[in-house]
Amino acid sequence: MYVAVKGGERAIENAHRLLAHERRGDRSLPEITTAQIAEQMTLAVDRVMTEGSLYDRELAALAVKQARGDLIEAIFLLRAFRATLPRFGTTLPLDTAAMRIRRRISAAFKDLPGGQVLGPTFDYTHRLLEPSCSDPAEPATAEAAAGPTPRVTDLLAADDLIETTARPAGDGGETPPGDLTREALTFPAERDLRLQNLARGDEGFLLALGYSTQRGYGRTHPFAGEIRLGEVALEFFAEDAGFALPLGRITVTECQTINQFKGSASTPPRFTRGYGLAFGHCERKAMSMALVDRALRARELDEEVKAPAQDEEFVLSHSDNVQATGFVEHLKLPHYVDFQAELGLVRRMRRDHEAASGSSREASSDDPAPEQIREAAE
């Protein structure tokens, strides 16, 4: 049990003043602006929007600045801000097939209808530090190809070689998906809630879990079927207007993995799929999400659940970095009463131990009784 403390107001206030001073850094240098962060630290901003679960570049940039570049602290700030606003409703589901593509690659197919474009990527760079990376050359231009850019998975699905995710035709009365910001997660969790959880989950945690599946802990042998980045239009059905209002466009990154097969006596073998979707340009996150999404489908696909990435309660309960940092970092707060209780306990145990070892020195057993070990650990 946590027992509150009082006092320290003056010290806390001064600590916050000192924090603001440190945040400002050397005052002979110009102060960084949130516009600069939004424009030049774009991937930090995108990560904060994705894991803060709030699409707003200006607010995310402000959060990065206020948090001195500590992205988990910035994510925490964004989540807290989000809680102050009313929710007007839910958008119509976005359509990634209609994306204005800025990057689209497939590691499974060379020749895609619509082509592959590398876009702004770190891939194939030499990872050498370049001291003067300012004032880059104007980007090259080329004639843009017309024509649609269908999702690679839709192409495979047309040949029945991969499982389909499409809803049955005429599916008008779709049940609304679960929302873990409104109702606490319970287990087993269905795929809509798992994806919501993963979408706001910590990139590092999901990266490690995705990596673990590749190394054999819940092996699903993935290919990057397609990764696409670009802008998608959002629409919101407004009751008072009576029609769907265009809201504008957001940037998203989508990853579709193609994984090993599933078939049965009645159905032919097909590739299976994992799915990742993130706000902004968060490619590592979207890929990790797709790997973990696929691993978490073990139950549905009758696979043996034996690796951490397949254990939905383990994954979904520990993916949120705001919850995680709250529980880990609360250990810094004063726990004086708890500790006094433990101190009293260990003193009593030592007295008991001394008494026991004094009376049975002949038996020469220094090991504490198992019950005492357990008690000390609690």
Binding site: A38, E39, T42, L43, D46, T50, D56, R82, L85, P86, R87, F88, G89, T91, L92, P93, L94, D95, A97, A98, R100, K110, Q116, V117, L118, P139, T141, A142, E143, A144, T165, R167, P177, D179, R191, D192, L193, L195, Q196, A199, R200, E231, A233, L234, F236, A238, G242, F243, A244, L245, P246, L247, G248, R249, I250, T251, L277, F279, G280, H281
Partner: protein
């Protein structure tokens, strides 16, 4: 996100079919009218607030009431499993919405990404105006120039992306 600065609020092609296809009409509103209002909104919400304000200031605006003052809130953004499957909640986005009524009775609405009360007011006002005889004026003086600017930005972005088109070749392994 790595984009040229001027495209941060995402360019739009107002003729974008993805906006015009899923038309929903209510009784009393013609489908054509709704399609036109949606096409106008698709341009205005993606235009820069400064450009929009400058252009609206050049047209005569009739008497009107704010029936909903600009209000900032959230919408939950949904995606679909695999891109085309069951919907799921991806995360929220900030939006601003407003509604105006002209003295002549037309009601205009707006709801757009971001937090910009003045822009929300102007978009709702334009939505009301395009339902009146002033529609051609709004189209010519406000919507058309913004549409052209957005199309230009989008064209440049597409050309820059196209320059990164890649053709990979598989090589025969020399193992035998």
């Amino acid at each position: 996100m790595i984009m040229p600065a001027q495209t941060v609020h995402s360019p739009s092609d107002p003729a974008a079919t993805d906006v015009a296809t899923s038309d929903v009409s209510m009784s009393g509103v013609s489908t054509n009218g709704v399609a036109m209002r949606r096409a106008v909104m698709a341009v205005l919400v993606e235009a820069s607030a400064t450009d929009l304000a400058a252009l609206v200031s050049q047209v005569a605006v009739p008497e009107h009431d704010m029936i909903r003052r600009p209000e900032i809130g959230l919408v939950m953004v949904q995606g679909r499993v695999g891109g085309d499957g069951q919907a799921f909640n991806l995360g929220e986005a900030t939006v601003t919405r407003a509604a105006v009524r002209l003295a002549s009775g037309e009601t205009g609405f707006s709801c757009m990404l971001g937090r910009d009360p003045e822009k929300a007011r102007l978009v709702a006002l334009c939505d009301a105006l395009v339902q009146t005889d002033a529609a051609p004026v709004i189209e010519r003086a406000v919507v058309a120039p913004l549409r052209a600017r957005l199309a230009e930005v989008q064209k440049l972005a597409e050309a820059r992306t196209a320059a990164t088109r890649v053709d990979f070749f598989t090589l025969v392994r020399g193992e035998d």
